[in-house]
Subunit: 433 residues, 2 copies
């Protein structure tokens, strides 16, 4: 029985977790993989005093791992775009298989990386890049392979979900963000998480594996949660909805919807119950219907669980001397579809609108008439007693599904009304049916 030799690049949170789990569960993992898995080299900018690396060769230059003949699988855990891209391409060039947790790398440079890997006949695995320890890439690429996948929707950023969960108690975004930073759930610069960029990286990968299209991160739409108020959260709840920061990918005949934004979801749907830092991904296939995958989307050992699952997958293949078994995106490169990501105006969604109107006779009729002119059907409307000193009244509308273009124009016309002086608040909504 051949052994498989793993070289780890990067000893941060995930690198340390990977080292610890591979070491602790070595015997059990070998029993699953069909061969021992040995860490044969580690490289990281800094040694970690809390990890006893024993006799494993260590260097500070990650390229040492890529050039080591004693390494079969390069595990890229350094993060970032440029050095990681160089490192992975060098590993492929040297005929090494690659396992990475780097969603940004795959979302942005994946097409180039997969092409190079296919030419060289090596595996590039990236389960840990999406939803941490939840094996959702495997579920989509392999478990759903019978299905035409119609849409995928996920809570795929734990920081954002934690903040929105805490805001349900009436707290403001800024206050909860500070707390999340103190707890280590959010970075000092939270932009990647709260503005949806991290989620868009993950969504790009989910969409490509689900629909069989090349990665198109640069065309993803992102909208963050920093403008969400406890007021809108409370009013969404009154309407039977919860606000979640969702990544949504939908296959349409003309292209792919690829968008991350705050979204109202029915409280009665299971995904509305996913709170705190946890992640969940809904996948809808034409044969199976809706399935959901739930668990920790981050953390040292949770992410390591996905990294090692990929290592075992490679080992199970390498030990049996077979070729790449599952194509990178789940579809053979020649079978990829050429559907492109749609512009946001072509997206279809329901909408929550909050309109602050001056309390004058006929204002509700005017609002309803604007909606009707643009062909927008109203699911429910709520006019609140004024809580504002200047006598403006909040009107809250939940629409049926329409095109984003229609809503944009309706909002333009609403904001042109004499009775409406403020910007209309607009949050998208999904019913998942």
């Amino acid at each position: 029985m051949k052994e498989v030799r793993v070289g780890i690049c990067g000893l941060g949170t995930v690198g340390g977790g990977t080292y610890n789990v591979l070491t602790r569960n070595a015997e059990m993992i070998a029993g699953r993989a069909g061969c021992p898995i040995r860490i044969s080299r580690i490289a990281s900018r800094r040694r970690r005093d809390d990890l006893d690396l024993g006799q494993i060769p260590f260097s500070t230059d990650v390229f040492d791992v890529v050039n080591d003949a004693d390494v079969d699988i390069v595990v890229e855990l350094i993060g970032g775009y440029d050095v990681a891209r160089e490192l992975v391409l060098a590993a492929i060039k040297n005929g090494k298989h690659v396992v990475t947790a780097n969603k940004a790398l795959i979302a942005v440079h994946g097409n180039e990386i997969f092409e190079a890997a296919a030419e060289r006949g090596v595996i590039v695995a990236f389960e840990a890049g999406v939803a941490g320890g939840i094996p959702v890439i495997k579920a989509i690429r392999e478990g759903m392979s019978a299905n035409r996948i119609d849409w995928i929707a996920g809570i795929i950023n734990g920081t954002g979900n934690y903040i929105l969960t805490e805001m349900r108690a009436g707290r403001e975004f800024g206050e909860v963000l500070k707390e999340a930073q103190a707890l280590g759930y959010a970075e000092a610069d939270p932009t990647f998480d709260v503005e949806g960029i991290d989620a868009a990286h993950k969504l790009t990968i989910l969409a490509s594996t689900g629909f069989g299209v090349p990665l198109q991160f640069e065309r993803a739409y992102t909208e963050g949660i920093s403008e969400i108020t406890p007021y809108d959260i409370a009013h969404a709840e009154l309407l039977g909805y919860r606000i979640k920061h969702l990544g949504i990918a939908r296959r349409r005949e003309s292209g792919i919807e690829l968008r991350v934004h705050p979204t109202l979801v029915p409280q009665s749907h299971l995904i509305a119950q996913v709170d705190g830092v946890l992640n969940a991904v809904l996948v809808d296939g034409d044969a199976v219907g809706q399935t959901m995958y739930y668990g920790p989307g981050a953390g040292d050992e949770a992410t390591a669980s996905a990294v090692i699952a990929d290592i075992v997958d490679v080992a199970r293949t390498v030990a049996h001397e077979s070729l790449q078994r599952v194509p990178y995106l789940g579809f053979e490169p020649s079978s990829l579809d050429n559907l492109e990501v749609l512009p946001m105006e072509d997206v279809q969604s329901a909408y929550y609108l909050r309109i602050e109107a001056l309390d004058r006779p006929g204002v509700l009729a005017k609002i309803a008439s604007v909606m009707s002119e643009h062909g927008i059907n109203i699911e429910s409307i709520m006019q609140k007693e004024s809580e504002l000193e200047d006598g403006r009244i909040p009107v809250i509308i939940l629409t049926h599904t329409v095109q984003e273009r229609q809503i944009n124009r309706a909002i333009e016309d609403l904001e042109a009304l004499a009775e409406i002086e403020d910007k209309v608040v607009r949050i998208r909504a999904e019913n998942f049916n």
Copy 2:
């Protein structure tokens, strides 16, 4: 590019679904599998008028499929134990790979089948046997391969979950069962579903793939839901719990807990929100923590989704001329553990007890003293006003985790008290933490 030829045995619900999805999504599936998948033969006791089988050779003898040189993969969808076992062993003997949706077959005859398949070097895949369209076998055998899996708990019988869901409205078991039969959710003879036998088949498979132990269905404990009353459901809800029919497998140092029974789960846990005919499986691993897999556990195309995922897995392996990549139970046969299923008395659980006591002074103290004598700590106790004509008062107790042996003895002593004339109602409880 080689094609892979599939022979379908059995054209019932799942057989028809498999035929339809393989036909409808043929091009997309070929793009995922790396080769076309052709249905080269079908056998079933009866032809189905609603399916246009075109030029595909059809026979009424399923053994024709096994003996056809034009078949690479035998898809066993006839169900049952004896003929199915013979059919699968004959297929293996002829060097065919096998895909089956037959949980009973695998749970009861799996050890024998896997040994024969390993000798002959063929794949036996059974994703569709557990939780229908949810790829939970894949998640456990491959997605969780880094983990020491500590426990698995699932709602893995849709009929039972439908009945318990409807009973929350105060309806009696018998009434809801009749409705479920009328709706086609329950069989004319509902024993397999409501007494937990079907769930025990599935749980046996989950436990063996999770823990790496041989299949031990004959040692599984089963308790059905026919004795559950709306009264206990309502009182569990008052305590913050919901009653679900769970399959629970837990790894202990001395052996494996393997048990299906009604179980109180916290309302706040995601699995409590899984209603109707839907299934969900919780998997707890030492690295990843808790993950959950949710979706339809039955239905023609949902189950076909899992059957075809297995076919694609085989095709991806066969087309690349590699060997069995993932071991049958997720562990190499030489790495299987020899842990045995524990007797039910050794199981550890929390318990909900409902005691109907005569309303005499000191009765509560007597009950508490019995519990204390047996070393059982009480989590909460609720004494209700008597709703009964004869003045008996219901006392409801939720305990901390203890051994089943302790509870059995405590119940014996409780039932020996002069104030307690009825049997004590006992339902197990889990907090999943």
